[in-house]
Subunit: 455 residues, 2 copies
């Protein structure tokens, strides 16, 4: 298939999953297409590639990663485990269920490091503009080699958009915010709680960013943490020093006024107000336009752009499942591009999409959401040779996790789960999460080893 060219935009978990999927087929003896992956950062890992920078990077491109120091997985690692590369295979011993970012980044890299994947990736290269020729059915991508300051274009038969959707902040304006004297930032630019020690922090939002950044600021010594919600609070049993309040209406200097009429002074404001799906390099007829939800419209099987199915979007869903979902998507996309999976005509695809949208519309609780995404992934697994795993057990772990969080937001990360890939029960971490202020891989693993020696 060397006459077929595949372009991948982004070498994060989704783009790397796509490279891995082709590698797996090649190992099974299949002839695979020519692949080029474009990554604007210096390294792979996407969101997991932490940057100390905020705003724009070395070459003036918007910073992709929203990662911050002291980020620990906010879901059990057993819910995201690759079914073709277990945590046991990578770490050679059981580790805890909620590892910090550097440990998860190490795991992601472990699977792909053994292959020649890096040969397919052009780093420091950003896609400037994509066009699609209806006659030749080819995509032309204009690329910008940032390091060498050179632009050029290449043609592809298939284009994979794997550039993520947690990079472009959604940042609403609040009256008076321009005169708030303290630090104002979006969660995207948050790099760790140290600078907020002894401060009174206002977080706007009620999703994962607000919950996690709020708890981190509390853990690392903020004087107080206030979370302001639009429609409904997160509603867990917050520790002393953390509280939820209704929506901010406006600022008057350093004073924030809320919908319930009360007001308070703050030192800093962090807008945890979500992200936009943003594809500046695509013409609008090829752009996925969606809010963050479990089944973005116009994507057949959640990945094939219905207007032009040679255009494939990976990982564009709101996510309970992450790495393993990207894998199931990438495996199916691969089979389509290798003519091993046929897709029906546009109308049939539309019907299939609509049936998922209908189901999505009816979901009410978080448990419903978990079940919906579980069903979606089960369908994908049934359609490719991605190694099967017990999705019902994973769904059950997600529900347990939801329960753990609502029981105690400070201790849920001390729980352990059992891998559906290997059957291994996670190790208890040597230190309770609330007492663990060091998130380095070295401390995580060395101490884990010492602990083992002692026991």
């Amino acid at each position: 298939m060397k006459n077929t060219r595949i372009g991948i935009i982004g070498a994060g978990p989704s783009g790397l999953a796509q490279l891995r999927a082709f590698e797996a087929a090649e190992k099974k003896g299949f002839d695979v297409p020519e692949i080029v992956c474009f990554e604007k950062q210096e390294n792979w890992g996407g969101m997991w590639n932490y940057s100390w920078r905020t705003g724009v990077g070395k070459y003036g491109e918007p910073i992709h990663s929203s990662m911050y120091k002291y980020l620990w997985s906010n879901g059990p690692k057993e819910c995201l485990e690759f079914s073709d590369y277990s945590f046991d295979e990578h770490f050679k011993k059981p580790i805890s269920s909620y590892p910090p970012r550097p440990v998860l980044f190490d795991y992601i890299q472990g699977r792909i490091n053994k292959s020649n994947a890096k040969d397919f990736i052009r780093f420091n290269t950003t896609a400037r503009w994509v066009s699609f020729d209806e006659d030749t059915k080819k995509f032309t991508i204009i690329l910008d080699d940032l390091k060498n300051d050179k632009t050029y274009s290449e043609e592809f038969d298939y284009l994979i958009i794997a550039s993520g959707h947690f990079s472009t902040p959604n940042m609403p304006h609040f009256k008076g915010i321009e005169n708030f004297p303290g630090n104002v930032m979006h969660a995207h630019d948050f790099r760790g709680a140290d600078q907020f020690k002894d401060q009174n922090i206002l977080l706007i939002g009620s999703s994962y960013s607000a919950e996690d950044i709020g708890i981190q600021c509390h853990k690392h010594g903020a004087e107080s943490v206030t979370l302001s919600y639009r429609s409904s609070p997160i509603g867990v049993d917050w520790p002393e020093g953390v509280k939820e309040v209704p929506l901010l209406t406006h600022f008057d200097g350093e004073t924030a006024h809320f919908k319930d009429g009360h007001s308070e002074n703050f030192d800093a404001v962090i807008l945890c107000t979500g992200y936009q799906h943003k594809f500046p390099f695509l013409p609008d007829e090829l752009r996925l336009k969606t809010t963050n939800n479990l089944y973005p419209d116009n994507l057949y099987k959640g990945i094939f752009f219905n207007e032009v199915p040679q255009l494939i979007y990976l990982g564009m869903q709101d996510q309970y499942y992450t790495f393993n979902m990207f894998d199931t998507q990438a495996w199916l996309a691969r089979d389509y591009m290798m003519n091993r999976f046929e897709i029906p005509n546009k109308e049939e695809r539309r019907k299939d999409i609509d049936s998922w949208l209908e189901k999505n519309d009816k979901l009410k609780s978080s448990v419903d959401h978990v079940d919906f995404q579980t069903d979606y992934i089960q369908e994908l697994i049934n359609l490719s040779d991605y190694p099967d795993f017990d999705l019902n057990k994973v769904a059950a772990m997600f529900k347990e996790w939801l329960n753990d969080k609502s029981e105690n937001i400070l201790t849920y990360r001390d729980k352990t789960f059992k891998s559906v890939v290997t059957g291994t029960v996670a190790a208890e971490h040597h230190t309770e999460w609330m007492d663990e202020l060091d998130d380095s891989k070295e401390r995580y693993l060395i101490r884990e080893a010492k602990e083992k020696e002692l026991s």
Copy 2:
């Protein structure tokens, strides 16, 4: 000339100067071409259009403005006055020589507000990609209407790049900076000194940003301000609480180590390390590639791109002169596009550029720099009908300003100068700059009026 189409990218001081130049020709009875100006922000003013946001804007595009609260002109307004629209005409009374940002923004808008310039500007519209057809000699620009999420393309005979070069941070890495616990930002993201009250601040750099942000932090209550220089210090007589030290070598936690062997702890770091000329929407054969200097290479008369002179860059020089330089450039560009100014062939243009580059190479002092840019502007004035003004007197004011700053960095803004456009001597501001903590136009003008009543 309605068959000639002119595209302008950016509606800041340079882009607005270009619109004004055509307006002036039209008023004199000339038939002017069709003009479209694209501005990615919601409003005009470019750098002068303050945004509370950092990182990316409402629609996910990199924030253009590097403006911050409490920014006062750092040069006499008499050195940047439009010669066709005086400060007297706008404010109807003398004002001080160093007004704050909102007052200067008001002045810029005053000239253009009277015209129908807004009709030519498409706001919330960013240029994604430009191509030039060697045969038709036309530019095709792909545009992104951010508000309506629509892309489209249009053809132009001439293209004006007026997108500035103080928007894309240059941000070098320093060993250990990723573990510095406090706030780390580039000057581009600085929005005012309030949040640094009582803190020990490290500024890296020795140009205008470091000088101005450092002095603002001192004025607004920072505990200490330390400026770290690479090659040579700013070298003025700093007040107590502000000092200059050699280059930072690395961080160890919150401790900064310097080239001279000493170390200190800091609460926050602001990288005042300059900006990159960045044109992501241009193919590299049309891109101006230059450091920040007084005569960027490949620009005939400082504006016409030598390879394709229909491509015109405004304001790409390092700047002593600002608004009035953009004007002289825009007037000459207009005359070229209206076939009123002929340019020689490529080789002749090359020779002319080289002669300026040679002179530029020999400059030593700041006074030399002022004289060089004065000569450049005098040449442009001689080539168009932009209203002449006494450039020697302006150059003399720049030299006085350099002297004032080195004499007292805290009081130089209390000095007054005489307009070369109207002969008016600036008013003394009602409050000494060091005591003036409010930079609003209202306070600046109302109190000015009260002062007048009292005297």
